[in-house]
């Protein structure tokens, strides 16, 4: 048989180089064995012609145009499952998937739902398109006011970063009011940025909008810089992830804790306050962003808090901790419900609700502002209304502190 030269790529490989350069460990892409573990664990891999393994094959073969044409990358919910299982430790989520989304944005191939969310974020500092002035409105009718930093007279301990959904979404505002009552019960000196707060930018970054992330990081960084505080505590796993892992690179480094960490540290102070029994079987859903994303690994603190609630029985679902199922809201997914439904004809939030019901849970406990509405919607769309309650851990704690009469 005649030996011929290996096929030489006919076009330039600039996008391949872009992907390699997108993250510090980007070169690891060269180590891909094509084993397909990424594809097997991808929640939407079944609906993709180009799941992560095939993306890498297409990159290597320099045959990437069909990938751009397919627009399938918008099925990626940035859940970090592929990154976690990759034996070659390729930074798939932060690198390949996110860089590919950036390329789609540059090509103008953006589903309209996502385009609106990104435009809202750039214009108003929140993806919901709400008035920045009304950001602290959720706290306006509380009996004990929540201090806004610009009006605070003295330095405080905890700067609470509330986040978009927790500030504006009616269902998640209730969680914020519960969290405020816990801070107050623990007599924590805390404050919020109010109108100075902007979206943390994590999901916009993972949706490929790097420049928007940098703009938001600068705005939030400047706002943080105006005030004196000891640490940032956030109720938003995405804010935690991006503050810890991405803001330092943008020039803003400060200590940050997810609220479950902050409260678990104060468990001994908290326990005597948890006076009202909550006799429920509760399954906890691990959010990707404080769990497997960037090895944040906050798995035990939320469980410690739940176990501390008298009467509460914590049960586990098959997919837990680093093996959690994404709620479907990450990486732009929260604004791509229509797109995902058209392509996948399913919702990962429904898989999760089914798992919770099969495990015998009465309450699905969550710790991320996307999850309460997403799972409640899934419960309704599956016809299980009344069969499973979705509550944030903060709400369960607040219920145990003051069974009734809590604001909100």
């Amino acid at each position: 048989m005649e030996v011929t030269a290996a096929a030489v790529p006919t076009t330039d490989r600039s996008f391949y180089d872009e992907v390699l350069g997108a993250t510090a460990q980007g070169d690891r892409l060269k180590l891909c064995l094509q084993c397909g573990m990424c594809t097997g664990i991808c929640p939407h891999g079944f609906a993709m012609e180009y799941p992560p393994r095939a993306l890498i094959a297409a990159l290597r073969a320099d045959d990437f145009e069909p990938v751009f044409e397919s627009e399938e990358i918008w099925l990626c919910v940035s859940c970090f499952a592929c990154t976690t299982v990759c034996p070659a430790q390729i930074p798939l989520t932060n690198g390949l998937m996110t860089r590919l989304k950036t390329e789609m944005l540059l090509k103008g191939k953006v589903p309209s739902e996502l385009r609106t969310a990104l435009e809202n974020t750039r214009r108003y500092g929140n993806s919901l398109g709400e008035s920045p002035r009304r950001r602290p409105a959720w706290a306006s009718d509380l009996t004990t006011p929540v201090p806004i930093m610009a009006q605070a007279k003295e330095p405080i301990d905890v700067l609470w970063f509330v986040g978009d959904y927790a500030s504006y979404h009616p269902r998640v505002q209730a969680v914020s009011r519960a969290m405020a009552s816990i801070f107050q019960a623990l007599e924590i000196s805390f404050g919020i940025l109010g109108p100075d707060e902007n979206s943390d930018g994590d999901v916009q970054r993972l949706a490929g909008e790097r420049g928007l992330f940098e703009l938001l990081a600068q705005k939030n960084g400047r706002a943080f810089g105006k005030y004196e505080f000891n640490e940032v505590v956030t109720t938003d796993p995405h804010a935690y992830n991006v503050f810890k892992n991405e803001y330092p690179g943008a020039g803003f480094a400060f200590p940050v804790k997810h609220y479950t960490q902050f409260l678990a540290e104060r468990l001994e102070q908290l326990k005597p306050l948890l006076r009202h029994e909550q006799k429920f079987k509760v399954a906890y859903h691990d959010p990707c962003a404080i769990g497997r994303a960037n090895n944040n690994n906050i798995y035990e603190e939320p469980r410690q808090l739940l176990k501390a609630i008298p009467g509460l029985e914590l049960i586990e679902m098959p997919h837990n901790r680093a093996n959690t199922i994404c709620c479907g809201g990450g990486g732009g997914g929260n604004w791509l419900d229509g797109f995902v439904w058209e392509r996948a004809h399913t919702r990962t939030s429904e898989w999760r609700v089914k798992e919770a019901l099969d495990a015998g849970a009465q309450i699905l406990a969550v710790a991320c502002p996307y999850e309460t509405p997403r799972f409640e919607d899934a419960v309704k769309s599956m016809g299980h209304e009344g069969g499973l309650i979705v509550k944030d851990i903060a709400e369960l704690l607040a219920d145990a502190i003051a069974d009734q009469g809590r604001d909100g």
Binding site: R122, R123, S131, G211, E214
Partner: protein, 256 residues
């Protein structure tokens, strides 16, 4: 093809609208301004034409406040020039007659074959800027346009009529078209390109001449929607309600 897109700014409904103590205007203290949605469509249509046939694209706006980011965004999307027209009292709002006279003067320094405006803007639904500008310039005007192509030295405009009718109209250039909707939804441009435009692009500033607002309607009273009392509630059981309804419809000639 040289294209000019004038962009108007309208109140953003993300903030509650309030009436100014004068009772004839909006209170502007907390008002946010955003580019008119149909003007964004006019810009998108212009970008599509530029991509298809080449040429120069200029965006012009009256400096009613907060306009710079929109102009830089237009550059990031592909506009070649952005022009801000400065004038006294613009921040209090400019009616369409005055706007068209100001635009006419500003256009003296800008070569154009085609001017694309939005068909109308959400604040007054007046829809007169395009036709007034065309009249002042002595140019043809076609409104309610949803697509444009170049043909035989002119353009063919796809014009929508009520009732689902569509016409294709040959228009000699130069001309003014009122865009109802672009062929594609307005595009998204990434923030990094907008930021780059802010660093490198220049907004040209021109002073407006005398604004001529003659012919404009005068606002006699501005007020929030007031509930009317015209509704008649029909009480009683289903049969009675049905009987009353049939009688009423017969009285008004809607039933035989």
């Amino acid at each position: 093809m040289n294209i000019v897109v004038p962009i108007k700014f309208v109140p953003d409904l993300v903030e509650e609208l309030e009436i100014d103590p004068s009772g004839v205007a909006l209170e502007r203290t907390y008002m946010r301004l955003i580019p008119s949605e149909q003007d964004e469509h006019a810009l998108e249509q212009a970008l599509l034409l530029k991509e298809r046939y080449g040429g120069n694209l200029t965006v012009v706006t009256l400096d009613t406040g907060d306009v710079d980011e929109t102009l830089f965004t237009a550059i990031a999307k592909g506009a070649d020039r952005v022009v801000k027209v400065l004038g006294e009292g613009f921040a209090e709002g400019v009616n369409n007659h005055a706007a068209s006279s100001v635009l006419q003067a500003a256009l003296e320094g800008i070569p154009f074959d085609l001017i694309l405006t939005g068909t109308q803007a959400a604040d007054d639904l007046d829809g007169s800027t395009g036709p007034l500008l065309a009249a002042r310039l002595g140019l043809p005007f076609v409104g309610y346009v949803t697509g444009v192509k170049q043909e035989d030295g002119g353009v063919v405009a796809r014009k929508e009529y009520p009732g689902g009718l569509v016409a294709e109209m040959e228009v000699a250039l130069p001309a003014v078209l009122g865009i109802q909707a672009a062929e594609n939804p307005p595009r998204y441009v990434v923030t990094s390109l907008v930021m780059a435009a802010m660093k490198t692009a220049k907004i040209e500033e021109v002073e407006a001449g005398e604004a001529d607002s003659s012919g404009a309607a005068e606002v006699a009273r501005m007020y929030l929607p007031e509930p009317s009392e015209r509704a008649e509630m029909i009480e009683g059981n289903v049969d009675h309600v049905a009987d009353v309804l049939v009688t009423l419809l017969r009285e008004r000639g809607l039933l035989a």
